[in-house]
Symmetry: C2
DNA sequence: GTACCTGCAAATGTTTTGCAGTACG
DNA sequence: CGTACTGCAAAACATTTGCAGGTAC
């Protein structure tokens, strides 16, 4: 019991969700789902479209935008806030996450896993009379490695 | 020393910031600044424009959109994520905040103050090699009061 | 006097929607 | 076979920008 869901598992979940919703599994949708599950990092609609077109050349923007909310509802993807550009970003929901660090220097998004934080977030919300349905922590940060050592282990071609 | 800054204090800070930046204090700007400081709850550009026009009828959209980033840089306002609609939301930076609870039932935004959470957020980021520049916690939640008692103390005309 | 600011309108860029045709179940 | 999905193009939407004046300092 690792708590991490495989791509194949997630693909099944997506398929089952569509079936349960009386939605249809078409070639464009299959290409988009498989493509979305192939992302290791956060992505947005435009990137997903471009990548999906490598599998099925004719996929249209609308199909991607119409499918994304369904994949979020199925629990296969989750929406995240990167506040980087004006795109809505998504990531594969392989395992629960506490939040994200968005590094201003190395431009990367690092996932944060901290049970203690999540616990306290829930506690605080509960003690204020709320039952959390979604916890989302974003930490905009400066890269210590870059500033102290002059380079960052995550990406050495960074722009300071 | 309450840690809470008054509107007059914030107004001064905004004015001083503009002066320091060699920016000019025009009637439209004064109206927008005073209006923004009159908000008790989060607001977005469109709401700010509408409210500011009550003071100065001719204020244009562009003036609001051009001033907002300056007010954020001055520290008088802060950007927040409500993920409610597609607007960028702002709130008056009267005191530091840990995060926000966005209630799905009573439609309100409640500020969260929890030093323990903030401490741990900083600790986690530091131990991952980052120096946080902005911490932003959003908790989407269901209103316990509404579900348990059938009404919510914050807003009894809520939509269940 | 000269930056800098203004309002207006047009441009931008992402996401949504209407529609006629197509294909999944 | 009907309903849901498709691609396309146009629309919607918040926000940004260019420009010709106007104004604070």
């Amino acid at each position: 019991m690792s708590g991490v869901r495989s791509d194949e598992e997630l693909y099944r979940i997506a398929i089952d969700y569509l079936r349960a919703e009386k939605s249809k599994l078409t070639p464009p949708r299959e290409a988009i789902i498989r493509t979305s599950l192939s992302f290791a990092a956060p992505f947005h609609a435009e990137q997903l479209l471009a990548a999906a077109r490598l599998r099925d050349r004719l996929i249209s923007v609308a199909t991607v935008y119409r499918l994304l909310p369904l994949l979020v509802k199925s629990g296969v993807l989750r929406e995240i806030d990167l506040k980087h550009d004006s795109h809505q970003h998504y990531e594969v929901n392989r395992a629960p996450t506490t939040g994200h660090i968005v590094c201003q220097d190395c431009q990367q998004v690092i996932e944060v896993q901290d049970a203690c934080l999540t616990l306290r977030e829930n506690f605080v919300a509960n003690s204020m009379g709320f039952t959390p349905t979604k916890l989302s922590l974003r930490i905009e940060a400066a890269c210590q490695d870059l500033h102290e050592k002059g380079h960052c282990p995550r990406q050495d071609g960074a722009t300071p």
